[in-house]
C-alpha cells in the first residue's frame, strides 16, 4: 500500500498527515473543554519531527523514539508535549535489541506508567492515559494491529462519558461530561495510524 515507505520516515509522514487532516477537529474538541490549541500544538510537533525524519530513520529505533520524544517536548507545548514526549523517551530508553514488537511489549507498560506519573493521573480521569492503558492491554495480549487500533478508538469514545479530573477540562467539572477528551482523541488517531502502517507495510 505504502510501497517503498516501509520505514520510520514513512511512519512519521503518515502520522503527520493524520494529525494535519484532523488538527481542526482536535482544536474543536479542545475548545469545548480546554484552551482550543491541541490540534495546532500537535501539528507543530509533528511538523518538527517530520523535518528530522531522514536523520531519525538512520538511527536505531530506540534512539529514534527517544529523539522524537525530545522533539515533541520542545515543540508541542501545552501538557501534551511532556506527556507524549515522556511516553516516547521512556520507550526508547527501555528498548533493547530484538524485534520491534518484542521490545514494545517490554517497554510500553513502563513508559505508560511514566506518563501517568508525569500527569499525576490515572485511568478514568478523561485523559490520553485512558487510551494508552487500552493500547497497552492489547499489546500485552499480542493482539493484531487492527484490534489494537479498535481498542484505542473505543477507549477514546469512552472518555466522552467521563468527568475530567486533570488538566484545564477539570475546571469545568460536570460540564466536561459529554465531550471526547482531545488528548485521548489524538492518541487514538495516532495509534490507528501506526497500526494501519504496521499492518500495511510490516514495518515492525
Amino acid at each position: 500500500m505504502h510501497g517503498d515507505r516501509s520505514t520510520l520516515a514513512g511512519l512519521i509522514e503518515a502520522c503527520r498527515e493524520a494529525i494535519a487532516a484532523n488538527a481542526e477537529h482536535l482544536c474543536a474538541l479542545d475548545r469545548a473543554i480546554g484552551d482550543g490549541d491541541h490540534g495546532t500544538n500537535m501539528k507543530r510537533g509533528c511538523e518538527a519531527v517530520y523535518a528530522e525524519r531522514d536523520e531519525l530513520d538512520a538511527l536505531p529505533l530506540a534512539r529514534a523514539l527517544e529523539r522524537i520524544g525530545m522533539t515533541l517536548v520542545m515543540t508541542v507545548g501545552g501538557a501534551a508535549g511532556p506527556l507524549y514526549g515522556t511516553l516516547l523517551i521512556e520507550m526508547g530508553r527501555r528498548m533493547e535489541g530484538g524485534r520491534a514488537c518484542d521490545m514494545l511489549v517490554h517497554a510500553l507498560p513502563a513508559a505508560v506508567d511514566a506518563v501517568a506519573r508525569r500527569g499525576r493521573s490515572q485511568a478514568g480521569e478523561k485523559t490520553l492515559l485512558d487510551v494508552l492503558y487500552a493500547v497497552q492491554s492489547e499489546v500485552l495480549k499480542q493482539e493484531p494491529p487492527a484490534r489494537i487500533a479498535a481498542a484505542a478508538g473505543m477507549a477514546a469514545r469512552g472518555t466522552i462519558a467521563m468527568k475530567a479530573m486533570r488538566g484545564r477540562a477539570a475546571f469545568l467539572g460536570d460540564r466536561s461530561i459529554g465531550h471526547m477528551d482531545p488528548g485521548a482523541c489524538s492518541c487514538a488517531l495516532l495509534t490507528d495510524t501506526i497500526c494501519r502502517y504496521i499492518g500495511e507495510t510490516q514495518f515492525a
Binding site: D35, D37, T40, G77, A79, G85, G119
Partner: protein, 132 residues
C-alpha cells in the same frame, strides 16, 4: 546577568508573555535588582502556551547558587516546567523548585523573602502559604 550566589532566583512562567512580563515588572518594582529574575511565556509559535526550551533558558538566566523558585500559571506550565528542570544538570535540578502558589502574589511574596536572603525552602514555603 551576573552569577548570584546570595539570593534565591525567581522564574515566572505563564501561557501569556504579557502576564509573565507584567508579573516580572511587579517583582522588580518590589525588590529592584537584588534578586535574579527571569520570565517566559508563549508557545514555540509565539501564541499562548509554554515551552520547555524557554523555561530552561529562563532558569539559567535567573540562576543562583542559592537555588531558583519557579512560578507557573496553568497545568501545561507546570508540566513543562517539570520537564525543563529534569533537563538541567542534576546538581542544578536539585536546587530548582516549582511553587504551588498564585502567580502574581506568589512571585512577589517569594521575591520579597528572597531579597532578605532567605533560603530556597523558606522562599517556597512563604509563597505556598498563599495557596488554599
Amino acid at each position: 546577568m551576573k552569577v548570584n550566589g546570595a539570593h534565591v532566583g525567581i522564574v515566572i512562567v505563564s501561557h501569556s508573555p504579557l502576564i509573565a512580563r507584567g508579573t516580572a515588572d511587579m517583582v522588580r518594582q518590589m525588590v529592584g535588582d537584588s534578586v535574579p529574575l527571569a520570565w517566559c511565556g508563549g508557545n514555540a509559535d509565539g501564541g499562548l502556551g509554554t515551552n520547555v526550551g524557554d523555561i530552561v533558558e529562563a532558569i539559567s538566566a535567573a540562576w543562583s547558587e542559592a537555588g531558583v523558585a519557579v512560578f507557573v500559571d496553568l497545568g501545561g506550565a507546570e508540566t513543562n516546567s517539570e520537564m525543563a528542570i529534569e533537563m538541567l544538570e542534576p546538581a542544578r535540578a536539585r536546587r530548582v523548585l516549582i511553587c504551588n502558589a498564585p502567580l502574581v502574589e506568589g512571585a512577589v511574596m517569594a521575591a520579597a523573602e528572597a531579597s532578605g536572603g532567605a533560603a530556597l525552602a523558606r522562599v517556597v514555603a512563604t509563597a505556598e502559604e498563599l495557596s488554599p
